[in-house]
Amino acid sequence: MIFLGVSAGMVGLLLGGTVATVVFLYWLKPPPQRVVVPSTMLWNRLLKEKKRNTLLDRLRWLISLMIALTIGLSVAAGIGRPELSAFGRDVRDITVVIDNSATMATRTADGFTRWEHAVARAGEILRQGSASGHFLILDTSGQAPPTEPGDRRSALEVLAGLTVSLGGESTFPDLLEGESEIFFVSDGVMVDEAPPEATLISVFEPAHNVGITAFNVEALPSDPARYYAFVQMKNASLVAKQITLRLSGSNEGGLRDTLTLPAGETRARAIDLSGFERGPVRAVVTTDSDAFVADDYAYDFLPIRRQTRVALVTRGNVYLENVLAQEPRVFLDVMSPADYSAQVSADVFVFDRFAPPEAPRGPALLFLPSDVEWLTRTLAVVEAPEVPGWNSDHPVLRFVALEDLRIDRAARVAMPTAGESSPQSSAGEARREPVAEVVVGDRSLPLVLVSEEPERMVRVSFALEDSNFPLHPGFPIFLSNTLGWLMDEQGALARSPGRIEVPLPMAAVTDLEGSHIVTWPLSDRTVFQAEQPGLYTVVAEDGRRLRVAVNLASTERTSVNDSGLASDEIGAASTVSARAEPGPSEELWVFLLVLALLLLVAEWVTYHRRLTV
């Protein structure tokens, strides 16, 4: 027997001391009270008969002593935390790495998932070791806390808290060097870089699966007013499958397509969404016997563009006038700076080498604006600046390549910083300087700045005439993107399931059903956890809105049969039912304490009934 609390020697001393103390206390009973009776004749006769007749009377003292000893020894042994399960087992240190990548959510033939089998196997491995060993549970998605090896109960608790991670990277964790036995429980699909010393335990079983590996709602650059849903499907099963694809939007109806995919084949579809209204779009693939559900759904958002009234304030710019005039959804109103007043109404303002003294009442695109109070100052003019880089992820620059951008001169403008006071507006209101993002250039030379407060604004710090930008094929796309972004006509951000950061501070997040999702503020961003595919709406305190389409959409995750492991014998439901939750303690101290308590209660009851004295 192994004692977890103290050494065996100390336990021996403790038990010996307990025995000595109990026996001593039994001998140390107070002397009985002396009572004079008229005659002990009857007492003698009675006690003589009782002593002769009852064995229990003869053993009473001994039994009472034994009970007291048992109580004392139970408590003393309980302090040492003895463990019965250590009988016949070597002390082993065990590290179990469990694969919780997306494909572990695949169902097996017995109705459980690979993950449930993996948890059961991991629990069995942990229980094989001695309780006095050290145990560590790690996972491939980084959910398990990076702690030192501990006792088995803690490891089982960690194991019980793990879940399948549909998104994120799945890698074999870094292990500390040591003599711990390493077990890797996996299906071998997404993680296959286990070290050679690890014992591989496979929970892989071939499964049927058809999934969406890509889904996106986009407008063609050549036809910005028309949107298409690009859907890519894969049959990851080992046999051909007939697949039904359904697209549904916010309006009734939808689209339905049926196709047959051979085993392992991928096929893409571009589906015209002209009949769809603005709102969420959901794609669903169905087939018979699908073991992996998470990739059967995909979501995106369809931003329908409307007619936009654009006020172009310029002294004359043929590039801007022509490109904007070509935009099919733009009503263009061209005016000179002299004609511009604060009363001019438009959905978007475009200022060319001009800036009004007061901020316009709406979003604006500015090319080399003059110095005014509501904009940061021009610090210097830079001749022939280099373009150090651009943020192609920003909606303004989607599909825009700037490798060949040449600029003769540009203004170095001051970067607005958070908390910095701006000059007074004409209305006399104290306004905070907007925080801007550099999408072209860098902070030392911002060539294109975008900001969202108080109104969306794109500030280009060079004139179109001073660059070859208007001659670029991406220029009309830039203008189209900019108009769309300024009108908040952006689509949804594409993300994978898991931890999601959105560039809005203190925002509230809701899913398609309107349920609120728990969020955490992180600097100027908001973080939330999206475990399942879906379309999430993020609304900041100032009303700015963002949509996030969370889709599995991954060929690797859909390919649930691409495993390098053999299919082990997995599977009895009874095995899986042995879940990893920490069960009743295998340590004996609880039972010893209960035994002592029961004996005390029994002693108390029998004492008050005068059965044991």
Partner: protein, 296 residues
């Protein structure tokens, strides 16, 4: 009545007067009990029998008519009632002095009451205190004027020693005592067994009336869990673990003991009364009277 001590106070004497009245009411006129033997004599009123005349006898009882018819000298005999003595034995052993309201005082009061009634009825009353022998004795007395002697005697007796009835009765009746009524007031806690003492009375052909006294705490003693019981007579002690079961068994044992004493008396046609010290002694005396063995 001012000579009484603390044991026989005015209250006690009033109760005796009451008992006397009750006794007269129960048996008006001359009070002679069943214990009174009939002796055949030549004088008397009630004819009993004939007997052959023996030379030297008084000729006044010769039945001359019978002589004329049969020519034989026949003497007529008459019965004369003779009073038999009352022997009141009270237990004066150490066990009787145990407790707040002692059995010894209670026994002496009973003895005094019975003695009083007996003296009033012109009986010969003997008072004997006994333990392992005769402790003290007041020889036969008759007449009401002997009451104060009896009371002083009872007050002077002290309890001591062990109970040994056989030895006491044997020692007393071996001295040619007349047959009579023996009243024994005791707890009958005789280590040698009460039957030996009773057998001795049977041997001497005495008529017994047993008054069995015990205190309430003897029936249901209140004892701590662990106790060292000390025998008041022997001085020996015994360690006992007291349990409710043991107390129940003791009560049962005590009841058996009492029933044994009573059964023995009933079997021999003797009177038996059992009481505890919390019962007023006059009630007990009335109970004795009702049994009809003392008053007839």
């Amino acid at each position: 009545m001012s000579e009484q001590g603390t044991l026989f106070d005015d209250d006690f004497l009033k109760k005796l007067e009451y008992l006397n009245l009750v006794a007269n009411h129960m048996m008006p006129g001359h009070l002679h009990g069943e214990h009174r033997a009939k002796r055949t004599t030549s004088s008397g009123i009630e004819f009993a029998d004939y007997q052959q005349y023996v030379s030297g006898e008084d000729t006044k009882n010769v039945d001359w008519r019978t002589y004329l018819r049969t020519d034989k000298l026949i003497v007529r005999l008459f019965e004369e009632e003779a009073d038999l003595p009352i022997y009141i034995f009270f237990d004066a052993s150490a066990s009787m002095a145990h407790g707040a309201s002692t059995k010894f005082d209670y026994a002496r009061k009973i003895a005094a009451a019975l003695c009083y009634v007996g003296l009033l009825n012109q009986d010969r009353v003997n008072l004997i205190g006994f333990a392992d022998g005769i402790s003290q004795e007041l020889s036969a007395r008759r007449g009401k004027h002997q009451v104060w002697h009896a009371f002083r005697f009872l007050e002077s007796v002290e309890s001591a020693g062990i109970t040994a009835m056989e030895k006491a009765f044997k020692g007393f009746f071996s001295a040619r005592r007349r047959r009579g009524l023996v009243v024994v007031v005791s707890d009958f806690m005789d280590e040698a067994g009460f039957t030996k003492g009773f057998d001795m009375l049977r041997y001497f052909r005495q008529d017994l009336f047993a008054v069995h006294i015990h205190s309430p705490e003897e029936v249901r003693p209140e004892l701590p869990d662990e106790v060292l019981l000390e025998d008041a007579e022997l001085g020996t002690s015994r360690r006992v673990r007291v349990t409710p079961a043991l107390l129940d068994a003791y009560a049962e044992q005590f009841e058996e003991h009492c029933e044994e004493v009573e059964g023995y008396c009933r079997k021999n046609g003797w009177g038996y009364v059992r009481t505890t010290t919390d019962v007023p002694f006059e009630d007990l005396i009335l109970q004795v009277f009702r049994q009809g063995r003392f008053l007839r």
